[in-house]
């Protein structure tokens, strides 16, 4: 078994979950604050879209935007000398885009559940918006936010279709675990494929356990909240 897909997958999923977590939370907060219903609906749909698109279609769009001859890809290459398509960064991009909706939707739902009078109370007590968010809103929404993050992490780790489209399947550079499983099976190396599968299975079990303990937390928080 070649260890490089494991390392690439770990790096990709960790970097992408960090980006997804922060951006998902920020966008969820921003969209919730929009007053006009049609703009809100539009942004909400746009942020959810990658979840319902077939991953290869999402990958096709990514290639369409970030390809070397395409507008964003050209711009990045000309001004920053960064080539996204078929680089390791593309695996992060694909994992981020496909996992973002899960984080966004969970965060939005969790933030919406927080009783707005608690936030108003903190404001009338003279507390800054930053304080209100980090000390009241986020802690109360945390169980939902964290379960969104766990789902998003799992989605990013398992990402195959879009990654294959925009990052390719380059041994040692963009071949993540799911792609390595595919390649190994295609090449008749079932033994390696089995090892990769066992690793992903282990991580998935950990994710499920993580989700379970989070929902346990949520219950105890609710108990504290309601009495």
């Amino acid at each position: 078994m070649n260890i490089s897909p494991v390392l690439i997958s770990i790096r990709t999923s960790i970097v992408s979950i960090c980006i997804t977590f922060v951006l998902g939370l920020m966008v969820a907060k921003a969209v919730a604050a929009i007053r006009r219903p049609w703009i809100k609906g539009l942004l909400d749909g746009l942020c959810t879209l990658p979840m319902v698109l077939p991953p290869t279609v999402a990958g096709f769009f990514l290639l369409y935007l970030f390809g070397v001859k395409r507008p964003i890809g050209q711009f990045l290459l000309d001004y920053f000398g960064v080539k996204i398509a078929f680089s390791w960064e593309a695996t992060v991009l694909a994992a981020f885009v496909l996992s973002f909706p899960l984080m966004y939707r969970s965060a939005r739902g969790a933030l919406q559940q927080v009783d707005s009078s608690l936030l108003d109370a903190a404001r009338t007590l003279g507390r800054s918006e930053m304080w209100v968010f980090f000390r009241v809103e986020l802690p109360l929404a945390l169980p939902g936010v964290m379960s969104g993050a766990v789902l998003a992490f799992a989605r990013g780790l398992g990402e195959f279709g879009a990654t294959a489209m925009i990052a390719g399947n380059i041994q040692g550079r963009t071949r993540t675990l799911p792609l390595a499983i595919y390649s190994a099976v295609a090449g008749g190396d079932l033994e390696s494929a089995q090892d990769y599968v066992l690793i992903l299975l282990g991580v998935s079990l950990l994710v499920v356990l993580g989700m379970g303990s989070l929902s346990g937390n949520r219950r105890s928080l609710r108990r504290r909240g309601e009495g």
Binding site: D120, A121, R123, T124, G126, L140, R223, E226, G227
Partner: protein
Amino acid sequence: MGLGVDIRRKLKGFSLDAAFSIEDGVLGILGASGSGKSMMLRSVAGIDQPTEGRIELSGRVLYDSSRGIHLRPQNRRVGYLFQHYALFPHMTVAENISCALPRDHRRAKVDMLMGRFQLRGLEKRYPSQLSGGQQQRVAVARCVAAEPEALLLDEPFSALDAGMREQMQLELQAMLRDYGGPVVLVTHDQREAYRLCGRLAVFEAGRCIAKGNTKELFTRPGLVQVARLTGCRNISPARPLGGKKLLALDWGVELITDRPVPGDVTAVGIREERWVHAEGLGAVNRFIISYLERFEEMDAHSARVLLSDQPGAASLRVRLPRRTQLPDALCVAPEDVLPLRGEV
């Protein structure tokens, strides 16, 4: 000085038009639910933005639509006691209170407030581990900790059961006496308004329809809506008959008031507890009655009675001190016959 409010808010199907001012003491805002009381309070705190108008507190402009001023709630120094207290469920009692305090001397101030509001020993509890009354004390302590220049209380007793409500009303009354600034208390409960508020503004459908001294508004409501909101349950359309007389059309009887009845009076109200056994009193407003229903209660008899045997006469409620026999005749003093204007 004091709090001055003059705001309008237009929404689909509802408009709020509120104007009042208060120097110190407690102003009650009495109205049915949906009359715009809470929206008005939220506008003063800065949580809601009115469409236009002006709000001033101790000489500072909090909101002025003509000058584009809309201070954030953080900068208003207005304390707001939420209906369900809005205590932070993930923080202990001490943490909840210290939220409202500046960093220096925080611990000493929390300790002082815990003592003042009888919360000693509960520092480490979470809000859900407290009784309703204790929760309210924490909320009031937190509110006062921020040293607001005005206090807004939104239905402060509605989340409490009857026994605790009375106790907390007494406590809050004592606290409000110590607090020097203006207090606005929103309620739909006329007893609460009568007990706690020196002055009263009565709201209906987003408008202030009456304001003045609370006791005066209760003894002379003047308007049908005000009479209703202050707890007068017997109201009949009426016609002035000249002098101090008027004819109660639903009840089919003539009534005498203590003052000449103005020509524009359209109704008459009599509070159920103002009827008395017609022994000692003279012949004024004395009626031989017939009982439709009676309920025996712990402290009183309440009943529905007819004042006349005219066909089609409507009944009214009476509430009499408990005695072995219900009287055959009742009377009401002229000053308890309330001439009212407005539609019934």
